[in-house]
Symmetry: C2
Subunit: 217 residues, 2 copies
Amino acid sequence: MTITITAFERSPDGGKGLARDTRVRWALEEVGQPYEVRLVPHQAMKEPAHLSVHPFGQIPTYEEGDLTLFETGSIVFHLAQRHPGLLPKDANARARAVTWMFAALSTVEPPILDLSIAKFQEGDKPWAQDRLPVVQDRIRQKLTLLSARLGDAEWLDGDFSAGDLLMVSVLLRVKPSGLLNEFPKLAAYVARGEARPAYQRAFAAQLAINTAPLPAG
Amino acid sequence: MTITITAFERSPDGGKGLARDTRVRWALEEVGQPYEVRLVPHQAMKEPAHLSVHPFGQIPTYEEGDLTLFETGSIVFHLAQRHPGLLPKDANARARAVTWMFAALSTVEPPILDLSIAKFQEGDKPWAQDRLPVVQDRIRQKLTLLSARLGDAEWLDGDFSAGDLLMVSVLLRVKPSGLLNEFPKLAAYVARGEARPAYQRAFAAQLAINTAPLPAG
């Protein structure tokens, strides 16, 4: 069955790979599954057709036969459960890898997202400049604890897993701010993720779309 | 094997059930698993002993034999996968229920958490009052879309699932602000969750701890 995901027709980051379809592309590349991409123009994100596949009007989504999923975490988990390569076989190790998936999306990403919101949604507000250090310090608190846990390990818990895929993806979002480089162990961890051939292919695929000419019309 | 979870010795909400151990207690009650609770004093949250079970120094955690988990989403998923009652049997329906788990924690909760942060961590900042409506509007955007998707259905996708358990838990956090009542379908959905006997037992259990006398010392 053909797998079809959705992505921005033009990512707001211009192809830096920070849009969430990159995470799903990466997972698909890690497990060796081919996929097709349906591009969603910005103005169509909150229209009924797209809301019927993604109730919050975002990307990515995942369609395969009569299954439609949204939420990056859920899509990555679905792929990880169905194909070898992203979750350990041992039941306890698997539960711990799933824990890191949730940790990436529920604990580490929210303060990082808050920085994007502070810059892009509240950048013109009178409090923008004064509030920025407060938001950055919340990120530092999380990264300090994450770095302590990772220590000198290659990945968060044994072999590379879907938990690392999501954690590296989340940390990539904080890289442009310079904050990641305050944590050398985490910066090296992210670099190890970026160096994986599957990530390289995923990144190249989204870059090609974001630098291609837009369809006329 | 005995299941042991952790909870605040004293929840910051004084027993309103908004601390995340309530979510795990609720899941345990839904699947009929007995459990023990280890209370963590506030000053011990970021100490090495607790950080060894929860790298971010939060509650709840889950211990069962040689398995240790953190992250509410992961703990609820672990229980839902091992015991009947929280995930459908059909593989596609199951993947969709997992999608709602991630949607609750990754998409709906972050703006709601931002409101808590605005009130409790930034309440004394000069921008606190002016920024509040901006934060509230971001919650409204999400709740508008969630309410549209739920419509008049009883639960998000078929029978009550771990996705509903987490979504109701997340929405309960916005109830005290009055925002939930702007969305009558969601308020009714939350009320259906609260009316479940398993939720009632979970709520009572956390309330008992939060209103019991503190140990001397």
